[in-house]
Symmetry: C2
Subunit: 292 residues, 2 copies
């Protein structure tokens, strides 16, 4: 009987359990969450079949481990599980949005990574939280990055790839450093900028501002509804790259501001043209309708 | 027979015609667009019943006028229509995203505004363009700002309010200056920042970046798919306020960058908390789920 141990039964972990069970990957899901309210809710919702009282209890008969905890807690969690008897060859993955620091923390603690451990990052919208928001459809049409290291076993990569695909996601293999550099630009930067814009709106707050908040701002700022405690960890883990990206966008914004203040709107429009074209290259099928 | 003259038969104008006709407000819609391809498409799609060869032909029997052209062309269009015999009391509105410059341009040309003219701004997502994108549902659940001036007749305000409500929108009356200041913060700023972030991505472009573009970036940057020629006009028309808002967000971003580079992540998280709380105040029903 295929048995999944799920550590962290919130949105991402809960959604993996639901999607994987719907796909027939596991018959039994045992959950653990350090927050008693979260594991209780996951049990009530049927996301997990049973729960562990703690992570130091001896583990036996586990066929797979999903570690869906915050980035800073991944290494501790995996080290604890290995200490409790988890076989290093059991396919195991995390879901942190930054990969190189997770790998470095594990190398620091263990010397080498367990051969069954495959660092993963499912890139899905997660401004909601908790088991009640979990959905078997969360990964459908999404993408999951796998950043294995040389000691990772091929069979673990293959099995975990198959699981994510069964959950409806596309899977991309890449190096952790490349992953972290790219997501600094495509994910961490937009989050930071959306937070900065909302921080600005707090400074100019007036209650009637809510009337003037339309669909453009709603979509633009959806990611600023994300959990500050989680994003603080992500920004901290990827601080150098995130800082460089933010500095880069500040330079662009200052250039735009100079053009506006100098009344150089033809030049500004040329910049907007490049930006719009880039948006269309990134999302060719989305919002690209034009006069026909 | 109620007869609407629609000048500008693109997304916004076409959607108003479709929504208003569905609501039974007009039996006949006569269209004009300076782009022959756009008016031809609007005719083919049945958005307008017939078309004017030009705006200087004598106008008779028009009960309402919608001027859905770019902000810079509103005053010219209305002055031309009045010259062609449009009665100044006929309920007439524009849809420009900036109101005070439209009003000032008309005051400059006409001394006082026609009593039937009600400056309007439907705040709806418009990153699509053209008559083919027009929809009778575009305004449903949206909001339209009306910024009448002292000489605007109450009956024009009442009739145009009723039309927008019949199209499914909420209507808010406000002063043009207040409108322009608020939308600088809630609409023009996010557009400018989204353009700046996409301009940054153009600088660090690598073809595999598309793989790393997830749902967060998609929603955040949807407004950067908007028409650069239109947005250049909006930024130009509201330049001082837009510049001040952009300067404000640059200061916030620099503060965030300083905290990141100094490793002060507790302080950064406190800023993210304020930003997230502000997002939730703006959109209380949206993406606010939490652990339960």
């Amino acid at each position: 009987m295929a048995h999944l141990l799920l550590v962290g039964t919130g949105l991402i972990g809960g959604s993996f359990a639901l999607a994987a069970r719907r796909a027939g990957l596991f018959e039994r899901v045992t959950g653990y969450d350090r927050d008693p309210a979260v594991i209780r809710r996951a049990l009530e919702l049927g996301i997990v079949n049973d729960s562990l009282p703690g992570l130091t209890v001896p583990l036996g008969g586990v066929d797979a481990v999903a570690i869906a905890v915050d980035p800073r807690s991944v290494a501790d969690t995996l080290v604890t599980l290995l200490g409790a008897g988890l076989n290093a060859e059991v396919p195991t993955f995390d879901v942190a949005s930054v990969k190189a620091p997770v790998i470095a923390a594990l190398q620091n603690r263990l010397g080498r990574l367990p051969s069954g451990f495959v660092p993963c990052h499912p890139m899905v919208g997660a401004e909601r939280r908790g088991p009640a928001a979990a959905s078997a459809d969360l990964f459908a049409g999404g993408r999951v990055f796998l950043t294995p290291v040389p000691e990772t076993s091929d069979s673990a990569v293959q099995r975990i790839t198959a699981w994510w695909r069964a959950c409806g996601a596309e899977v991309s293999l890449t190096a952790a450093d490349i992953h972290d550099a790219r997501v600094a630009a495509t994910s961490h930067l937009p989050h930071l900028v959306a937070f900065a814009c909302l921080r600005r709106l707090a400074d100019v707050w007036d209650d009637d501002l809510t009337c003037f908040a339309g669909p453009g701002l709603r979509d633009f700022s959806r990611i600023a509804a994300s959990d500050p405690a989680l994003w603080r960890q992500i920004f901290e883990a990827n601080a150098e790259r995130v800082g460089d990206e933010l500095a880069g966008v500040i330079r662009e914004a200052e250039r735009f501001l100079g053009l506006i203040r100098d009344g150089r709107f033809d030049a500004l429009q040329a910049e907007l043209d490049v930006a719009q074209a880039t948006r269309r290259r990134l999302f060719p099928t989305d919002g690209a309708e034009n006069d026909d």
